[in-house]
C-alpha cells in the first residue's frame, strides 16, 4: 500500500521564479492538504483540495495556488518566489473533507530553497 508521495525531493529556485510541487495521496484517500514548514517551526496550513476544488485556505497570499486532478493527485504552485518561501512543503492526504476522524498522513516533503 503506497503512502503519500511527493516530487521533487529538493528544489532550488531564484527570486521571482515560479515553482510547481506534486503530490500523490495515499491509496484510497481523496483529500489533499498542503502545509509549509519553515526551519525550526511547526507546519502551517496552506490549503485543502477535495473533489478537485479548493475547500479551505490558510493565511497565504494568492501567489500560492493549487490544483487537484481526477485521480486525487495534487499540485502546489507558487509564483513570484520570495526568499521567505524557502521551506519544507508537506502534502497530507486523508479520506473525506472534514468531520471525519481520519488522520492526515504526511508525505516526505519537498525542500524548496529560494536564492
Amino acid at each position: 500500500d503506497a503512502g503519500v508521495t511527493q516530487s521533487p525531493t529538493h528544489l532550488i529556485k531564484t527570486r521571482g521564479q515560479q515553482v510547481t510541487l506534486r503530490c500523490s495521496p495515499k491509496s484510497g484517500h481523496d483529500t489533499v492538504s498542503w502545509y509549509q514548514q519553515a526551519l525550526g517551526q511547526g507546519p502551517q496550513f496552506i490549503f485543502q483540495y477535495y473533489e478537485e476544488e479548493e475547500r479551505q485556505r490558510g493565511n497565504f497570499p494568492d501567489r500560492f495556488s493549487g490544483h487537484q486532478f481526477p485521480n486525487y493527485s495534487s499540485e502546489l504552485n507558487v509564483n513570484a518566489l520570495l526568499l521567505g518561501d524557502s521551506a519544507l512543503y508537506l502534502c497530507a492526504s486523508s479520506l473525506g473533507q472534514g468531520g471525519g476522524t481520519d488522520t492526515q498522513y504526511f508525505g516526505p516533503g519537498t525542500r524548496l530553497t529560494v536564492l
Binding site: S33, Y35, Q41, G42, F45, Q97, G98, T101, T103
Partner: protein
C-alpha cells in the same frame, strides 16, 4: 484565531527517566493529534484523541486530552534514545479533521 502552544520547547532527558510534554490550545476543538518528526523527515502520526478524557498509549508514550481545559499531555515513560525527535501537537477547528494548527514543537533529546 486558533493558537496552539507547547512546552517545553526543548527537553533533554536521561534514558530511563519520565517526563511530560504539554499542549495548550486557545479555542474549542473536539480532537487533537500528536505527530513525531525526525530531523529532515516528514511527520509520523502517533495519536488521535477524539473526546474529553481520551487516553491512548503506545509503547513508552501515553497521550491524554482534556477538552474543557484545552490541554493535552504526552507522557514519556522510561525514555530511550530512539525517542529522540521533535513532537508536535495539532488541533483542527471544531467539527473537522482538517486545517490543522500545529504547536511550536518540542524537541526531545534523550541522552545515555
Amino acid at each position: 484565531e486558533l493558537k496552539v502552544e507547547q512546552n517545553p520547547l526543548f527537553l533533554s532527558m536521561q534514558e530511563g527517566k519520565n517526563y511530560t510534554i504539554y499542549c495548550n490550545y486557545s479555542t474549542t476543538s473536539d480532537r487533537l493529534y500528536w505527530y513525531r518528526q525526525d530531523p529532515g523527515k516528514s511527520l509520523e502520526s502517533l495519536f488521535v484523541l477524539l473526546s474529553n478524557g481520551a487516553v491512548k498509549q503506545e509503547g513508552r508514550l501515553m497521550a491524554s486530552l482534556d477538552t474543557k481545559a484545552r490541554l493535552s499531555t504526552l507522557h514519556i515513560t522510561a525514555a530511550v534514545h530512539d525517542l529522540s525527535a521533535t513532537y508536535f501537537c495539532a488541533v483542527p477547528p471544531t467539527g473537522t479533521a482538517s486545517k490543522l494548527t500545529f504547536g511550536t514543537g518540542t524537541r526531545l533529546q534523550v541522552t545515555l
